[in-house]
Symmetry: C2
Subunit: 721 residues, 2 copies
């Protein structure tokens, strides 16, 4: 294999790229003198603001006693994870979440960062921690007041009181406002009566509910003096110290799940269970002894969304954990692909490394690029979360922005993680299907990340609604001159659609020169313009399409909006793509290493061009991209694959996924060892006189001999003439 | 909800579609008088040529003792499946595969059809049966000769001899030609010496190898008289009757896998293990007592592919089983979606059924359409397989066509099954993640279908190579007039790319009339032209791009081909799409029920337009589709979703997935029961005087009262003026 200082890209015009073209295969390592990733610097950039916390958490996640078991029963796995949770409690891992009033540092960003990293130990442990501290304890902290904190937080922190977060019901998951459990105030006894009115109102899928929970934060409709004040949260003991269910409380086990079987998910129901009036977590709504309701927030709708909004932390941490899982999967699959050899196209004595196949790069590198984008986007989300929850930047607007950002990123990164895990597993062939190689287990565990803590479809719909509201309010608030600008912009959008594309400025600049088009499409300005334009126009189109709904009956309006649901989700995804692309670009600019910026810019370009390429028909039909560039884009993506090939292992190394995180034998040198042993065997065979000769080789030799004989005969005949 | 005889489609021009537009929501059932699916007729069409065998197999698959266990350990699951296999053996389920010489009917199609249906009982049982009879027994049957059949087939059939199919090695899976295990002939003892030379040559991932196998059909390089004749198959006993490994044989357990844990996959290695010379399965290659090799096929390459080709049955049955699994998943998810209600957009007393959301139809119906296409395509594959293996149509060309068809369909249907299972699981939310609802278990089990029995990527590459070879030989064989036609066709392809699309004939015909464009794109001719044109042009493009390789050194040529690997795979997928579309279209024409043909034609249109829409940029850039149609296509797909909405449950019913196959509580009426109970509760509440009033309603009333008072005041003031 030739390893000259070149990349094997010709595509349409090989001469134009002579300086970067070798016909004989890709480069396994960066060429001397070219840009090279500074692994330390990029690793530091990815670690972000809570670098120290993450480093510590990564050491923790490498400890064998915290790892996912292989071939455990559901019962064994549950007990193992419960014991691990106790370890974390004893070590005070969740302490950063405590506010100053409880003697903590109120360092919410650090807290979430530390727990995200647990996903590479065992996603069950990450999520069980999330149930105990991120949901159950957080509900007491965020929705309760001082007395509640004093009474219940210590037990929740120490795991003396394992808790369930009893929000979801069988009948209502995403639609929390429609929960049916009731909490009716009884002024006679100064108590709440918690009640499950029918089967669909059973609380379901609750971590800790099947076995471990002693208490639950129960979401129920607060009813007092004949008025239903909507969903509020109540602290309800459910089991005694021996683990027996308390009177009136029923529980069922969800049994085996698709994954996360270290968590005892189950159902809870309440048959007129009584708790003291003060068990209402009363920060946003309270009832006095006479049953008179009061709230600092007048509007029931806004009050509900404020309460729910305090729980955004779950989405933030799923975003981070999904990203980390993608990093682990890519580390395994790309390490294996750089050692595994299969098929010898040319050199019979040496097979080709998987990563040198175009299709292999094509299936994995765009995922690597998107995972980089996701990591930088997550850091922005985590900082926004910390700013709000530390109180430093806690305004209603900042909260709303945070919720929108979380709603945009959580669906994107959980989807990416599942797709990446599946692609990595398939890219490792049969080895990828073995439990010990981690990929299948990760997919099983992360599967539910797509639908819990806010179903991905519902979250994207929230994002779309926010984007539409912003668009509408922007339109409303503009002055006369602004309206003019809007009309002009809209006219341009429509005009573009009818511009023959060969006349686009792009076409004139690029004409007949794929190299120039390649360079142009790699301009940050071009990608920014494309992605921002797409995000804006998609929202605008939906907004215009929905306008007639304003003049319709509620039924008709709902049906009309429903006819544009797919476009709404599409607009939300376009927004998330833009957010990720910008975060990636900002992240690169902040890195103090020229070589790293150069390599990462190509990774960013691969991300940008992949996003554009995946929606290319839209760009063409809307006149944003010329036919020439449109034809060029797939070739450009492939060119980037080869250019990035030498940097793949550096890019993976910067993820800082450690041996204790990688437990897959195929990515821990096992494959390399086997390849070396096999190569040594064949070398010895070639050197040996006793080695068998291939029938095919003998036949080829015979054929050549006969041909030569015929040739000799022919030339002898020729000479005779 | 209004259920007039209409569909709710407006898209761009609502007035143009007034006759089919209702603003208030989709239809849950087919309108009276319109076309309706004849479930019986369509079911019969899907059952195909082996209808009776399938009906019997479906009854079998409904038997509880054959079902996948929930929460079993790997060891328990393995023993359960082994016992189930014994049941099948005792019932003679595999008997149809036996040739007349062994007293069987040689009904290969029936045999495969029967085993495919087992996937809905437990995929582990389907695959363990496949290992025992489809691979181990088949290898003896297809590669061995009469004496072998007499000696070993009875034990294999009765499960007295559980067997492993020892082909794959740790180091080589897809590249079977490079296997490293050797079988060296020793004329002194008239024996083969089977040997594993290094770790990577261990046989791996073999079903039955870890525990149950008593014998194995071992693929090894046949070496005699110093010549390596390539990979041949040998019958090798591996364990004694007590289950102890025989001398020289080593075994390791693959342990827990991502799925299919009812199968004891494991590794086997051989340390100079000796078997009699006659243990070579010698149909395609033999060695006499002196060690002289002979074969009916001269070329070692063709000989190898002939031997491997006899094992195509595995791919055929995976194609069928994947399709059946998709049918089961869609039955579960669509049944649930037609009962589950969530969010009330308009009517506060009644939430909307999931299936009435555009996004829900959009995520599931294209998969339903593709599953229909896959079923009809599979029936063609199975008939082709049966024709060849019955001997009725066994020509080299027919075998090659069969192998290409299997290589095109197996990757397509296994991919579709995984995507469908994942989409269905997510569409069922948290319930979809519960083990009892089957979707997660099916995904886990079918995961490996994408990479075993021929890795999907490798198979698509085989298809591409065949298409390229056909293209080249076609070019070579045409006469002068043919070359002229070729040049003219090529000129047209290139010219189209530079035609402004508004001038395409399509544009002229459709102009300004989306309805007409809709009808045009639903023409079979249009879809056929698009899909066939795409398949042809994609092959042509790759063929032309690869031409320079012919003049290069082998290394350079390999690198050059590698630069077009992604395009090759893309061309193969385009071919598979065309095959499926045509099979679907042919299948519809054969159905003797006008209503069914009408409904299925819309399903076919949804399939066709989805395939075209997914590659729309390509069609635009190649001038095959006009901008107007390009803009219209997404709206047309959505229109089809609403048109098909009333037929969804009929379409699912035609799959004939029975209650014993569906064991998911969410699809067996549980959800409907809960919805009915909740609805009754709310009805009673509304009728009751004691029911609490919503704070929001009270506030709205108060606001209206105040507004009215202000209005009254204002008009009073106005009257005073």
């Amino acid at each position: 294999m030739n390893t000259t200082d070149t990349t094997p890209e010709t595509v349409t015009s090989s001469t134009a790229h002579a300086r970067t073209a070798t016909p004989t295969g890709p480069l396994p390592v960066p060429p001397a003198g070219g840009p090279r990733l500074d692994v330390e610097a990029v690793s530091a950039a990815l670690l972000g603001r809570w670098a120290e916390v993450r480093r510590e958490a990564r050491e923790r996640a490498a400890r064998p006693e915290l790892h996912r078991p292989v071939d455990a029963t559901v019962a064994e796995h549950r007990e193992r994870v419960f014991a691990q949770l106790q370890t974390l409690a004893d070590e005070g891992v969740a302490r950063p979440m405590l506010p100053e009033s409880l003697g903590g540092p109120n360092d919410n960003g650090a807290n979430v960062a530390a727990f995200e990293e647990l996903v590479v130990a065992d996603p069950s442990l990450q999520i069980k921690s999330g149930v105990q501290w991120g949901l159950f304890t957080s509900a007491i902290l965020q929705l309760g007041t001082e007395e509640h904190h004093r009474a219940w937080i210590p037990g929740a922190m120490s795991l003396e009181t394992p808790g369930a977060f009893a929000m979801t019901e069988i009948g209502h998951g995403s639609d929390v406002q429609s929960l049916a459990t009731t909490a009716t105030y009884d002024p006679e006894t100064d108590e709440w009566v918690i009640h499950t009115p029918f089967r669909a109102a059973w609380k379901d899928y609750l971590g800790n509910a099947a076995v471990h929970a002693r208490a639950a934060t129960v979401f129920a409709r607060l009813v007092t003096r004949g008025v239903d004040h909507g969903v509020h949260c109540f602290y309800v003991p459910v089991r005694d110290a021996e683990g027996n269910l308390l009177p009136g409380v029923s529980s069922e086990d969800d049994g085996e799940k698709g994954g996360l079987n270290g968590i005892d998910n189950g159902r809870l129901a309440f048959d007129h269970v009584r708790v003291p009036r003060t068990n209402l977590l009363n920060r946003y709504g309270d009832v006095d002894a006479d049953g008179v309701y009061s709230s600092p927030i007048d509007s029931p709708g806004r009050r509900f969304f404020t309460m729910i909004g305090t729980l955004v932390q779950g989405r933030v941490s799923l975003d981070g954990a999904s990203n980390r899982a993608s990093q682990l999967a890519l580390t395994i699959a790309l390490t294996y692909a750089s050692q595994r050899r299969q098929f010898s196209a040319a050199d019979p004595s040496r097979e080709t490394v998987l990563l040198d196949y175009q299709a292999h790069l094509h299936r994995l590198l765009p995922k690597l690029a998107a995972t980089y984008a996701g990591a930088f986007a997550h850091e922005q989300l985590l900082q926004a979360f910390d700013d709000v929850f530390s109180g430093r930047g806690d305004t209603p607007e900042a909260r709303e922005d945070l919720e929108t950002l979380a709603a945009a990123l959580k669906p994107t990164s959980t989807r990416l993680a599942l797709d990446t895990l599946q692609e990595c597993r398939e890219a490792c062939g049969g080895a990828g299907f073995m439990g010990e190689n981690q990929l299948v287990g990760l997919h099983q565990d992360l599967d539910v990340y797509a639908t819990f803590e806010g179903d991905n479809t519902i979250l994207l719909q929230l994002v779309a609604k926010r984007l539409l509201a912003d668009y509408t309010s922007e339109l409303k608030s503009v002055d006369r001159a602004g309206i003019g600008r809007f009309i002009a912009q809209r006219a341009e959008t429509l005009a573009r659609r009818h511009t023959p594309w060969t006349e686009l400025a792009q076409g004139i600049g690029d004409r007949g020169n794929p190299r120039r088009a390649f360079d142009s499409m790699r301009q940050a300005d071009f990608q920014e313009e494309m992605l921002a334009g797409r995000a804006r126009i998609k929202v605008e189109e939906v907004a215009l399409a929905l306008r007639p709904a304003g003049r319709m009956s509620p039924e008709d309006a709902a049906a009309h909006v429903n006819k544009h649901q797919v476009e709404m989700l599409d607009a939300a995804r376009a927004h998330a793509d833009l957010v990720r692309w910008r975060a990636f670009t900002d992240g690169i600019e902040a890195i103090d290493s020229e070589g790293s910026r150069a390599v990462l810019t190509e990774v960013r370009d691969l991300f940008g061009l992949t996003v554009i390429g995946d929606d290319l028909a839209w760009f063409l039909l809307n006149g944003l991209i010329s036919t020439q560039r449109g034809r060029q884009i797939a070739a450009d993506q492939r060119r980037l694959l080869w250019r990035l090939r030498p940097h793949v292992l550096d890019l993976v190394a910067a993820f800082d996924v450690r041996p204790g995180h990688v437990r897959a034998p195929i990515a821990l040198g096992g494959e390399k060892e086997r390849q070396d042993e096999a190569a040594a065997y064949f070398r010895a065979q070639r050197a040996s006189a006793d080695a068998p000769v291939s029938e095919k080789v003998l036949r080829d030799q015979e054929r050549r001999r006969q041909k030569a004989a015929r040739g000799a005969g022919a030339s002898a005949r020729g000479a005779r003439r």
